[in-house]
């Protein structure tokens, strides 16, 4: 994870096209300016960044399923729960499963596991639209390659 760059995932470890699901790994950094404020003397991964982590897993799942042809934008979160503190240095496993493929949108159930325990979950709605420009598409494809699954997806 590079929190300041909103780079929340480190690697896609499993992509299952048949079950429309993805598993990614993410290690919370030991140090970050984020922890200076959240919270002094008691550093915690902000829940909103855990939500973003799940949204990115959902986004890359949809990109993979659509062959990186459309851009998923995070539109809505329902029933978001943060069930345990996540501290610097934690190793996270992020799960995302598409439960509905609508026209121009998709609904994804996501959750995060840390030390065998579910620490966050949410139902996410992603709006799927044509890429607004080539630069974003290239960036997303580069990120797909960095995460180690673009080849498999295509």
């Amino acid at each position: 994870m590079r929190l300041e760059y909103f780079q929340m995932l480190d690697r896609v470890v499993e992509l299952n096209v048949e079950s429309c699901s993805l598993v990614a790994s993410a290690r919370v950094p030991e140090t970050s300016s984020v922890f200076e404020g959240h919270f002094p003397g008691h550093p915690l991964m902000p829940g909103v960044l855990l939500l973003e982590t799940m949204a990115q897993a959902a986004g890359y799942l949809l990109l993979a399923l659509d062959g990186f042809s459309r851009m998923p934008f995070f539109a809505n979160a329902k029933e978001a729960n943060f069930r345990a503190f996540v501290t610097p240095g934690s190793d996270l496993t992020v799960h995302a499963t598409r439960i509905h493929d609508g026209a121009g949108y998709a609904v994804v159930d996501a959750h995060i596991v840390c030390d065998g325990k579910r620490v966050a979950d949410a139902r996410l709605t992603m709006r799927n639209v044509p890429f607004p420009n080539a630069a974003l598409q290239q960036h997303v494809r580069r990120e797909g390659a960095r995460l180690g699954f673009l080849k498999e997806a295509l």
Binding site: A75, N76, H100, D101, G102, A103, G104, Y105, V107, T125, R127
Partner: protein
């Protein structure tokens, strides 16, 4: 068995906090019921799930952008007719 209109009215009311008595077959989902585009995604998801269909809302929105009259899709009686058409086409024969 509830009519398509009754079912859709219940979905809109529960997902968008619109009083059910305000919803009529002549209501325009956006203009009259003030369901915004994000809330309409919720409505569409519930309709898709309830009727086991994939409502072609993306195509409809493109058509409206292209100059089509939105009433043909987003006035309740028309929306329900589209749902019945899509559900009928999707039903096993």
């Amino acid at each position: 068995m509830a009519s398509t209109f009754d079912t859709v009215a219940r979905i809109i009311s529960s997902t968008s906090d619109v009083p059910i008595e305000k919803i009529t077959p002549d209501s325009h989902v956006m203009k009259d019921l003030e369901v915004d585009s994000l809330a309409f995604l919720d409505v569409t998801f519930q309709i898709d799930q309830t009727f086991g269909i994939r409502l072609p809302v993306e195509e409809w929105l493109q058509n409206v952008k292209g100059g089509y009259d939105g009433d043909r899709y987003f006035v309740l009686r028309n929306l329900c007719r589209h749902i019945d058409d899509v559900a009928g086409a999707a039903a096993p024969t």
